[in-house]
Symmetry: C2
Subunit: 396 residues, 2 copies
């Protein structure tokens, strides 16, 4: 029953909460260095936050040559729930107010089972985390889904790989069930927010976050803010055409990037190669399991299989070609590559880099890092927690 009922009363308080979230516990003096307020006003706002219970003062910090300071920190009992619904599995995690992941579970699940079945499982997973003592209640939850979302309402719109989800009131339904504020966003955007908060994209204002999983998507961050586009479909780069009259895509067109390279496409190509006898390594695995996944290709490549390496390289080239265009257009300060397929590692990254550095102009690529995400599966759930905390830590 101890829920976060209070919200910051003004922009100063919101700012302070975010400083404490991102910088950890701080003294009043340290906070004063980071915010443009007089000490008196700062003290007043901190006192008000203390009254609401959103922050607590616990103990004294070590002296730095003078009077010891009080440690101000966010309420230690605050808990956020981060949910990342992928095409084939679900990640659920609990974080504290500083967005540190306290517990994280992952279970396989086909998103095509529909919202009702998926939410049943999400709620069970959340209950499991509660039962393990990591949280009494949740003060807010962020939900990522693998498709476009009308963000203000928290409703998926025309999601290609999520039949049955179109128009389903995800935000409303989960808010009801969980009994706390909920925000819903595209999974790629959450990954971008995760890497921004705790990963490779800290301190970068404008960057792109490419997620290669079952499909391919791109999170766009402009001036530190996620850009979602007019209808919430920004970053939907999986259906950019990379080859006229190329492979048929589920969307109805031909030659889409996603039809040529993605977790699903890679598995398909690998099975094809195995059946055609072009790769003994893949054939062995195919016979053993009856099917192949991106992980098999990664393993085969690591074992030196030329065909597997070729598939990865070709996919990287295709992806790099698209990213090169995006880099020319968007001129980001960083490109992050993430998602399930990053298990393909350096071979993939090298192919992408080669394409981008060759095709884009030097002014855009001159100082452009292209790196793998460093948070892995934690990126999505961390981003989800960040999303809802950004919301709760803003003036009511």
């Amino acid at each position: 029953m101890r829920r976060m009922t209070a919200r910051p009363a003004n922009a100063h308080q919101a700012r302070l909460l975010r400083l404490l979230r991102d910088g950890g516990p701080n003294s009043r003096a340290q906070l004063g260095d980071q915010i443009d307020l007089s000490r008196s006003k700062l003290a007043v706002e901190v006192d008000r936050l203390l009254e609401t219970g959103l922050v607590v003062a616990d103990g004294l910090a070590a002296s730095r040559g003078g009077r010891r300071s009080h440690n101000i920190r966010l309420a230690p009992a605050l808990r956020f729930l981060g949910v990342d619904i992928g095409a084939t599995s679900i990640d659920v995690a609990v974080t504290n107010a500083e967005l540190e992941v306290l517990g994280h579970i992952n279970q396989p699940m086909d998103v095509r089972e529909g919202p009702v079945a998926v939410f049943e499982q999400v709620l069970a997973m959340a209950a499991k985390l509660k039962a393990s003592g990591l949280a009494e209640e949740f003060d807010g939850a962020g939900i990522g889904v693998p498709g476009p979302v009308r963000f203000p309402e928290g409703v998926p719109v025309a999601p290609p790989i999520m039949p049955g989800w179109d128009g389903f009131p995800v935000r409303e339904a989960l808010s009801q069930e969980l009994g706390c504020p909920v925000l819903v966003d595209n999974d790629v955007n959450l990954m971008a927010m995760g890497e921004q908060h705790a990963g490779v994209a800290r301190s970068v204002g404008d960057f792109l976050c490419i997620k290669i999983g079952t499909g391919i998507g791109c999170g766009i961050v402009v001036g530190g803010q996620v850009y979602r586009g007019t209808t919430g479909s920004a970053g939907d780069i999986g259906h950019i055409q990379v080859e006229p009259d190329g492979r048929a895509c589920a969307c109805g067109n031909r030659g889409c990037l996603e039809a040529h390279f993605s977790g699903a496409a890679l598995a398909r190509d690998a099975e094809e190669a195995a059946q055609q006898g072009r790769s003994p390594e893949l054939a062995t695995r195919f016979e053993a399991a009856g099917r192949l996944t991106a992980a098999d290709v990664a393993a085969a490549a690591a074992a030196g299989d030329a065909t597997a390496l070729g598939l990865i390289r070709e996919g990287g080239n295709r992806t790099g070609q698209v990213i090169a265009g995006l880099v020319s257009f968007f001129n980001p300060g960083l490109v992050v590559i993430g998602g399930g397929v990053t298990g393909l590692g350096h071979t993939l990254l090298a192919a992408i880099r080669t394409q981008v550095y060759r095709q884009s102009l030097p002014l855009a690529t001159g100082n452009l890092p292209i790196v793998l995400g460093e948070l892995g599966p934690a990126a999505g759930v961390t981003g989800a927690a960040r999303l809802i905390s950004d919301h709760l830590f803003s003036p009511a």
Copy 2:
């Protein structure tokens, strides 16, 4: 000597100035409806602005059933200079504080002559406008150049079609010569701002503005603000690859969009067609003038020449292919097509639309207008004036 020395003292005053700029003269009561301030506070700020001379109260408006209101308007003597330096010509215009173009002149000039020669001409043109009595002095100037700009410093960086301009301190030099504040930006960004202020893009928050002239560029507007990228090269879509191993481009690569379609490429292809006897219409014009331009192709197409129409259609397809990718990625609320080549009119637009609507997903294209800019050559200079007025109408 009557120069705009004063600047708004706070955000409220800045807001008021912009309201008066964009909405024209207004009474205090009307201003009060558009700004979140009490009448008393509003009156105080208006009085302060009156004291500085930035705004004036002239005459009474007609009654609307009660006491007649005072007309508050921006100082009528305020003048902004808008300069749009293209690859082959220069546009210079004077506007009043409401950014209405009072006078506009255009002269041919090759930007490759270098900054010194170009600025000599710009200053001469500005002097001519002054001499015609449209302005005593300029209170600010916006300058557009056809290449990437490091915006905070107002310095072109690595501009492909502007040899000799790299690193030239445009802002500083012109500020000195003109004796007023100056801002420098990419010409495409200014076109976007122009269409946003007075053209088709009013009231659209996120849109793209494609300018097809000698080269091809794209202005990106996010949340009403121009997005310039990390190094100022955002929107540089002319060098996105549209055909592997395609035409050689000036940038050193092959298959760039600009190498296949742009004012320059179109002229080249038209001359080729004329010489190869594929088009009698173009051949006649070629013999008459010794060379061909995009305008010739437009004229030939208007006369029904199949080859000319084919060139336009093919170019539109190529451009549309790239724009389709950008639409998928950026999910804009509007796409504006502008620049010199828009003389090609509906044929071009139709080809672009076809490609975009076919290649991008319905969610992104469902309600996406793709239209020609409605300001023509005035877009750039209006945008330039808007740029500097935005700067001057913000807190000092």
